[in-house]
């Protein structure tokens, strides 16, 4: 109990640091570009245009409201990929600081997840724009978007914790994970629908947490239905387990980070 109280107190004490770290993340990313923050909206838009052109003309995907379909998959997947890739390096990149000052170390991956959440907000604005331009109807269920977003963020945070722990001890992780995310992207049904997937691959895709989150988002935005309690529980379980596992792994090894960075 005492421990929990101390943890919470520590978290509150370092609240300003979390804020500053997120601010720094966002500022540094667009510091020298002419358009600055506008890129956070433009980026997903351009990606969507490219994917739409490629897949609806060259590969002839037959999916209704394809631009929005692609964009949802795109921003959800990217949000996780960015958060985890940066989170993985969070400890190593902040080594100078960690060696010098006592800071709860989980703040670094957490700040990356939060800044990706902010980015997601901008991308979501892009999504709204696209929906307006392509005459996609808005359903009231879009207001529940924070629910899958919360699942997604928890999952990304948990995964970041595991990845950055592994990465401290084995730097190979960075390269491995790059390959892994590419494979992961193709298995997330971002620009195709699961109907074209051969049956033997279907279970693999269904087991992919990101696919679950993406289809959750699609359901509430494109179809206007809220997924069943079962789906919700499944998503919650995946996120919860990842976070718990991440915290366990991280806290088990965090005292040894200093010797390896």
């Amino acid at each position: 109990m005492e421990m929990l109280r101390r943890r919470i107190f520590g978290f509150l004490k370092y609240q300003p640091l979390l804020k500053e770290l997120v601010k720094r993340d966002i500022k540094v990313r667009y510091r020298h570009s002419v358009l600055g923050m506008i890129w956070t909206v433009l980026n997903p838009l351009f990606m969507m245009i490219v994917l739409t052109v490629v897949f609806s003309n060259m590969f002839r995907m037959d999916i209704a409201k394809f631009p929005v379909y692609v964009l949802i998959g795109q921003i959800v997947f990217n949000c996780n990929a960015e958060a985890t890739t940066q989170g993985m390096n969070a400890i190593i990149w902040n080594a100078a600081l960690i060696k010098k000052v006592y800071i709860p170390k989980y703040l670094f991956p957490l700040s990356n997840v939060v800044s990706c959440l902010v980015n997601f907000g901008f991308s979501f604005a892009a999504l709204i724009l696209v929906m307006l331009f392509t005459n996609v109807p808005f359903y009231p269920t879009i207001l529940t978007v924070w629910i899958p977003l919360a699942y997604l963020m928890l999952f990304s945070f948990g995964l970041s914790l595991i990845l950055c722990t592994v990465n401290v001890f084995f730097r190979d992780m960075q390269h491995l994970y790059g390959v892994f995310t590419t494979a992961w992207m193709y298995l997330s049904a971002i620009f195709y629908s699961t109907e074209i997937v051969p049956p033997y691959l279907l279970p693999v895709i269904k087991m992919n947490p990101i696919y679950q989150y993406i289809s959750f988002f699609r359901k509430i935005i494109l179809e206007g239905t809220f997924p069943s309690v079962q789906t919700n529980l499944l998503c919650l379980a995946i996120s919860g387990l990842t976070v718990v596992l991440g915290l366990l792994v991280f806290s088990r090894f965090q005292d040894r980070f200093i010797l390896y960075i």
């Binding site: 500053e20 600081l97 060696k99 010098k100 000052v101 084995f170 200093i258």
Partner: protein, 450 residues
Amino acid sequence: MTQKDVSRKNYYFAETLQAEIKKYQIISFEVFDTLLLGNDFFPMDPLVPVAESAEAEAYCTNRLMTPLYKAALALGKPVWLLAETGLSEIDCRALLEAHGFGGWARLFVFARRARPDDPSPFQSISQEEGIPEGWLHIGVRAGTEIGLLRQLGISTAPYLCPRDCWIEEQLRQGEGVVPGRIPVVSRGEAERINICYTHTEAPKEDVVIQADRVSMRFNMSPEKVDNLKEYVVRLLRGKLVVQEFWALRDVGFSIRRGERVGLIGLNGSGKSTMLKIVSGVMKPTEGTVKVQGSIAPMIELGAGFDFELSARENIYLNGAVLGYSNQEMKRCYEGIIEFSELWEFQDVAIKNFSSGMIARLGFAIATCRATDVLIIDEILSVGDAAFQKKCFQKMEELTCSGVTVLLVSHSAEDIIRMCDRAIWLDHGSLVMQGESRYVVNQYLERLASR
């Protein structure tokens, strides 16, 4: 209640203090060593100011002490000016002899007796001569007078510490100075002060850092294995030998509030490891370190700064790293810019800064708010003489308000000048701890004899 609050409560009005002075036969005032011999901060002709009594009055007394000094003289009391020099034993002895003074080369303390009717210059105090009972000492720092008290075998002596840093603080806060009010830092039996100072048994509530039998072990592999392939290859070949290396072995010490402690030792003696353990960055393999209150580590060049961000943004970032709230940083912001003299460069990305500018910024941020413990690792060697002077003054000010300073430096001079106490580490074990001058001299002697 912090030391600061205590001190603020114990104001003495001038009348009370004068009454106090009447009670004692001998009054001594502490003089900065720097006043006697001069250094970068107070460039001065050696010995001249104190040799001429009018100037002595002005200098010795540190502004605030002047009225007391005058009062003591007016009462016809003999006044002793105690001085501590910053020189090595040999230099000091040579200098003293050149000027015709005997004295306490061992402690580097000598005194001057000033009386309106007695124009005699410096007079050495020796143990044989002794000093009468009933001594009131008004000093700045514990170093000088404690040594003197010890040597003279004086058991009772109230110790008053009027410091103008308090007045400066008041001025800054717009309170103005109340003439004749002097804060008392510590007042009590000489023996108690002595004990606190030498640390054999510091009062419990005053201990800020308590290290008990701290040991730190590192596993050194002959080559660093940080990728999986190598790890597996070595594991298969059975070559995953790990060499143990003890960076610290059973080191224990305790540091009292307001003390300035220096860590000395050769490279690799475990100083930085100790600092890391104290600041909580590393956990010791064995033993415990308990720290009361908050710690502000002086952030080394670069660490904690984001070079893409401007000075302004870095101030907020670094303040957050140290655990300060946003409001606090807003309040401190002006002071930090003022101290680091970066007015024109507030919004310039610090990748364009010189190393001196970054060091100034780092120091200013770490010292912007009163923390309980300030940790400084060799950072002062950057910066020019003027800035170093400023840093020293700031640190004096901070220690007066009860901040504990832990300093690592290779410069024996810095340790003597800035620390009350030194801890000497060698190959991870504690060789000696005690009065900084003594320990540093022993250390230098050992080095010379190698």
